[in-house]
């Protein structure tokens, strides 16, 4: 469908597989998507942390982070929470259905720069979606990194995304994977408690480590506080922002946080930059 250099015209894509990560009113559904156009598929080159505008023609588009690493294969994965008009329409899609994709947009995690370092990801709820590509990328290039620690929490065990993947990761002794839920629950034998306090319990050393966090604003706030307590420097801490977006290419104006357009200058910011943006935590 994309015929020229018009950035507003999306690619057609086919949903190859879908499954629910969580249930309930605000269910999270994951889509494995393949671009239809061969050329587009070959030219598509995203980096962990980037987003794409996915949508359904006739309904609209939403900016969703790409939750797979390019190392995984020639497909895209999006984990979408059912919230509004577009995400409701997306949730109707099943394997074989069509959706539209344009992107990839935004900057990305500087994974090249991080080579040789310990990677610590701290996610909460749907905030694990942008963490996942980092985890996958680091797993695929494990010899180039100093190690990978993952902390992930949600309200209940049912709200945890990518559960089955963690099972495997927890068995892998090289990786350190920590899960937590907010309140005690039958059949849950792992940690109970909020993500920021679990971070303190684990007490990771800031030395040669990069911490990346994403989750609900309140969690991010406390995680950042705790990371500082642990001795992390501003440039060792990264997070991703989100705002309402329409165009994805820095034109429509609505996603600005301070002078930064989240869709182009972001979504990935290090804490040093973020601190200078007055609206970043609004």
């Amino acid at each position: 469908m994309k015929t020229n250099e018009n950035p507003y015209i999306p690619y057609n894509a086919t949903v190859e597989d879908t499954w629910f990560e969580t249930g309930g009113e605000r269910a999270i559904k994951t889509f494995k998507v393949v671009l239809e156009d061969d050329e587009a598929r070959q030219n598509w080159n995203h980096r962990p942390g980037q987003c794409a505008m996915i949508g359904v023609l006739g309904v609209g588009e939403s900016m969703i982070s790409i939750s797979c690493s390019p190392t995984e294969g020639d497909f895209l994965r999006f984990s979408v929470m059912r919230m509004g008009k577009v995400t409701q329409a997306l949730h109707q899609l099943e394997a074989g259905d069509k959706m539209t994709v344009r992107g990839p947009y935004g900057n990305s995690f500087p994974l090249e720069e991080w080579k040789g370092k310990q990677i610590l990801t701290i996610g909460g709820g749907i905030g694990q979606a942008p963490m996942r590509p980092i985890v996958e990328y680091v797993k695929a290039n494990y010899d180039q990194y100093g190690g990978l620690t993952m902390i992930y929490g949600a309200r209940t065990s049912g709200d945890l995304c990518f559960k089955n993947e963690f099972e495997e990761m927890r068995k892998n002794e090289e990786l350190s994977c920590h899960l937590t839920i907010d309140v005690e629950e039958e059949g849950w034998d792992l940690n109970v408690g909020f993500v920021p306090s679990m971070l303190m319990d684990l007490n990771p050393s800031p030395e040669n480590t990069i911490a990346i966090t994403c989750g609900p604003p309140i969690m991010i706030r406390f995680v950042l506080e705790n990371l500082k307590k642990l001795g992390f420097e501003d440039d060792q801490i990264y997070t991703t922002l989100e705002n309402r977006m329409k165009c994805g290419i820095g034109k429509c104006g609505r996603c600005n946080a301070g002078g930064m357009y989240v869709c182009k200058d972001g979504p990935v910011f290090d804490y040093a930059t973020l601190k200078a943006i007055p609206e970043a935590f609004a």
Binding site: N12, G250, K251, C252, G259
Partner: protein, 337 residues
């Protein structure tokens, strides 16, 4: 580039020459002065201060179809933009606004619709000889005869218009209408200087933006925002009528089996503008929204594109229902620095 004289008696002929193309000019329609297409035989109204609605909708229509498609279809159909437009009688501030907005629409990604419409438009400006009460263009880098963004500038010299070509497009327009024009004399150029100087003298309002872009971040928590935003109604008048405001919304509209994706002007003064689906709003009240508007024009845009996103046309001051006056706000900002 050449300068020529057009006797006002030949004005209708001059307009007639242009109506071959799509000609937009200020006209009085429904008791209101507005930019509208001029039909054959109609005459533009040039004796005016400025239109209420800026001519930005010629290059950035309030509603623009991005593409059309069939429900459940896979092919999209882009609109063809190929109609040349002559924008006649644009005030220098409005022309300058387009140069400012160009920077955003060509930032990294080219906006194909905007770029195409900009290509197709020829801007014939009219220097101001009677500036409005709230004009402050010289303060923000413009002037009553600024040529930025114009292809041709007309200056009212009483009996004649002085036509000065600024670009190739303007030159071409002069060539097309050559038989109506006369050579200029030195006296005309002197007269032009005089008209422009007099106009500049008549501009009463001013603000020195020196220090504002750098200083605004430091005033983030200042009480002045509460003061200036208290009376804001949260309507979109200031932004919709602003020639440099360029934010938009994208929506899909479906009617039967026909669908389109279109964009429409949007305003940062609306609550819904930044509202997340979760119900969280990063700018929850009029205070944040007002602060954002001023910051965007005088701080963020300067940071990114090195120009103030305000041309001093005074429309937001003229038409704000509750007298929120951007010059007054900026004065308060300067005081607070």
């Amino acid at each position: 580039m050449s300068a020529m004289l057009l006797n006002k008696e030949k004005w209708p002929d001059f307009v007639g020459k242009l109506t071959g193309k799509q000609l937009w000019a200020p006209q009085i329609k429904d008791e209101q002065l507005r930019f509208a297409p001029v039909a054959e035989g109609e005459e533009p109204a040039l004796d005016y201060k400025n239109t209420r609605v800026p001519p930005k909708n010629v290059v950035f229509p309030q509603t623009e179809t991005l593409f059309r498609f069939q429900v459940d279809g896979e092919e999209v159909d882009e609109p063809k933009l190929d109609e040349e437009v002559v924008l006649l009688g644009v005030r220098p501030c409005d022309a300058r606004s387009m140069v400012i907005v160009d920077k955003l629409f060509s930032w990294d990604y080219d906006d194909p619709y905007y770029a195409r419409r900009r290509e197709l438009v020829t801007m014939v400006g009219l220097a101001c000889s009677e500036p409005g009460l709230n004009c402050f263009c010289p303060s923000v880098g413009g002037g009553p005869a600024s040529t930025e963004g114009l292809d041709l500038l007309m200056v009212d010299l009483g009996e004649n218009y002085l036509l000065e070509a600024i670009t190739e497009k303007g030159e071409a327009l002069i060539n097309e209408t050559k038989e109506l024009l006369e050579e200029t004399r030195d006296a005309n150029l002197e007269q032009k200087e005089k008209v422009i100087n007099e106009a500049a003298q008549k501009i009463k309002r001013s603000i020195d933006p020196e220090g504002i872009p750098v200083g605004l971040p430091g005033l983030w928590e200042d009480s002045l925002w509460q003061r200036v935003s208290a009376s804001c109604l949260g309507c979109g008048t200031c932004t919709f009528l602003c020639p440099t405001c360029h934010c938009f919304d994208i929506q899909d509209e479906t009617e039967g089996f026909e669908s389109r994706r279109c964009r429409t002007w949007d305003s940062c003064m609306f609550e819904e503008y930044t509202l997340h689906t979760s119900g969280h709003n990063p700018r929850p009240s009029r205070l944040e929204r007002t602060r954002n508007r001023i910051n965007h024009k005088y701080n963020y845009y300067v940071d990114k594109f090195d120009v103030i996103a305000c041309v001093g046309c005074g429309r937001c001051i003229n038409l704000c229902p509750v007298n929120i006056d951007i010059v007054e706000i900026l004065k308060q900002v300067k005081e607070a620095l």
